[in-house]
């Protein structure tokens, strides 16, 4: 498979801040003030994770500016820990993630249960700086730590019948009392086609910012699929099952009209309630254009040759 580095939007294409801010005289001063202050405030915050050993650099990383750790840990969609963006940081604080096992089974020759330590040793951990685009129209750039999910899947030896991969995440009302208000069926389930799951960009993620994952970002192990809307990247995984038929996915069950199985980032296919043409990068005020496949088209567009992406949204 040919893996090219994607063409990122150059800073030259971005409207200078000064021009942009002048249009907003009624709220002048807001942007510069908080952009500046936030940078100063966030690094001092205590981090929840444990430092990971040296991470290999990855050619898949973008050179775009990373989002601040504070933004990525205080603006989360993790409905098991509350439906607002601020709640997961609070309600997931004491999430107990040890011991942890992930079962990998289904259409495989060697089904296996992995402990967290096992998972840490499947392949060398790499740092990969990916763009992450939420279906709601905001985005972040995160230095994840992990490896290609394919490394794990190859260990269990999928049979020819394995056409899809189903993911299930942790669910326990005792640890997640807010989950009763989530309004979605739980446990959270997601799915990928086998070729999507085996694509080198698809990550099994065990850390971010050089540390283990904080609870609100999907500790201790999550999926990262950078060319799909964020909800496909399921958090706190407990089951990975290789299956023959397309598995159900939570948001598709909740509202099939709005959330498809594929959910590839696509500026040309609007969400029924809002446009997907632009996004707001956290830390920036002006919306920026959303790129097809979130800027990973060169690497992944070929997976969907001949498919009508309006139909398979």
């Amino acid at each position: 498979m040919l893996i090219k580095k994607s063409a990122d939007i150059g800073y030259s294409e971005v409207t200078p801040k000064s021009l942009y801010f002048n249009r907003r005289s009624f709220l002048a001063g807001i942007p510069a003030a908080f952009l500046g202050a936030r940078e100063l405030l966030s690094p001092s915050r205590a981090r929840a994770g444990t430092k990971l050993p040296d991470l290999a650099k990855s050619p898949f990383s973008t050179s775009e500016k990373e989002s601040t750790y504070n933004d990525v840990t205080h603006y989360n969609n993790f409905y098991e820990f509350g439906t607002s963006k601020e709640q997961p940081a609070e309600y997931a604080k004491n999430f107990k993630t040890t011991p942890w096992t992930v079962s990998v089974d289904g259409e495989v020759a060697k089904p296996r249960k992995y402990s967290l330590d096992d998972l840490m040793r499947v392949a060398p951990l790499e740092e990969r700086i990916y763009r992450h685009r939420c279906v709601e129209g905001w985005s972040i750039v995160v230095p994840w730590a992990g490896y290609s999910l394919s490394a794990l899947l190859k260990q269990v030896e999928p049979t020819p019948k394995a056409k899809f991969v189903a993911f299930q995440t942790y669910y326990d009302l005792g640890q997640m009392p807010q989950a009763r208000y989530a309004g979605i069926e739980l446990p959270y389930v997601e799915g990928l086609r086998i070729d999507e799951a085996m694509h080198p960009l698809t990550m099994l993620t065990l850390g971010m910012y050089g540390e283990t994952l904080p609870p609100q970002d999907g500790a201790p192990v999550r999926l990262t699929v950078p060319w799909k809307y964020g909800f496909k990247s399921a958090k706190s995984l407990v089951k990975i099952r290789l299956v023959e038929k397309q598995p159900p996915s939570t948001w598709n069950i909740t509202n099939a009209h709005e959330y498809g199985f594929y959910s590839n980032v696509n500026p040309a296919v609007d969400h029924p309630r809002w446009s997907q043409a632009t996004e707001r990068r956290l830390g920036e005020l002006r919306r920026r254009p959303t790129l097809p496949f979130n800027g990973y088209a060169d690497q992944v567009a070929s997976l969907y040759t001949g498919m009508d992406l309006k139909k398979f949204y």
Partner: protein, 200 residues
């Protein structure tokens, strides 16, 4: 006690407090990682709360025999309009950046935007005609008829909220139930005037 000038001033300050809090959160760099979304939700929350409070005045004053509550209705309504205007301006200017193309396409394609716009536009004539002069000019009866537009605002605002959320519908349902009760009370009075509780 309700007639005191001071409690009008007190209510004014209470209604202004959320706005002061918003300014404070801006000053202290506490507008969350997505400030525009936060301001949008914050002002929208206060707009709908004050719309409900405005709608509650008439039933509460009749049921609790507190006729003087009427003194506060205009202020609540105008503050609802104030927060709704901030909400609208945040979306229009900060979120959409005055991009008329996107704004117009939102108007035609996004039903939750349309519901929000209906709710807001119905408030505009009410805010304009909220003065004593306008009540005189229109005449009490016509003025009252015009100001029933606030019922449309209440219903449209709830629909706007309900269509907006992804799956957690607790708050839209809460506001929806309150608006439904407050409007049902009026309906009951209109349909069965004699059985209605004694009006003071």
């Amino acid at each position: 006690m309700l007639r005191s000038r001071w409690n009008k001033i007190a209510l004014f300050l209470v209604c202004l407090a959320p706005f002061a809090r918003l300014l404070w959160r801006y000053r202290t760099d506490d507008l969350t990682p997505n400030p525009i979304e936060f301001i949008t939700h914050f002002t929208g929350d206060w707009a709908i709360r004050l719309v409900v409070a405005t709608l509650a005045i008439t039933p509460v004053r009749k049921l609790l025999h507190l006729p003087d509550l009427i003194r506060f209705r205009r202020m609540l309504g105008l503050f609802a309009f104030f927060y709704a205007s901030l909400h609208f301006a945040t979306w229009f200017g900060l979120d959409k950046g005055f991009d008329m193309h996107e704004i117009l396409s939102d108007f035609t394609k996004r039903r939750f935007i349309i519901a929000g716009l209906v709710a807001y536009l119905c408030m505009v004539p009410l805010a304009i005609t909220s003065t004593k002069g306008w009540i005189r000019r229109l005449g009490g009866r016509r003025w009252q008829l015009l100001h029933r537009l606030v019922y449309v605002t209440g219903v449209a605002a709830v629909i706007h909220y309900y269509w907006l959320v992804k799956s957690d519908i607790r708050l839209p349902l809460l506001y929806g139930s309150l608006v439904a009760i407050l409007l049902a009370y009026r309906g009951a009075i209109a349909l069965w005037p004699r059985r209605a509780p004694a009006v003071s």
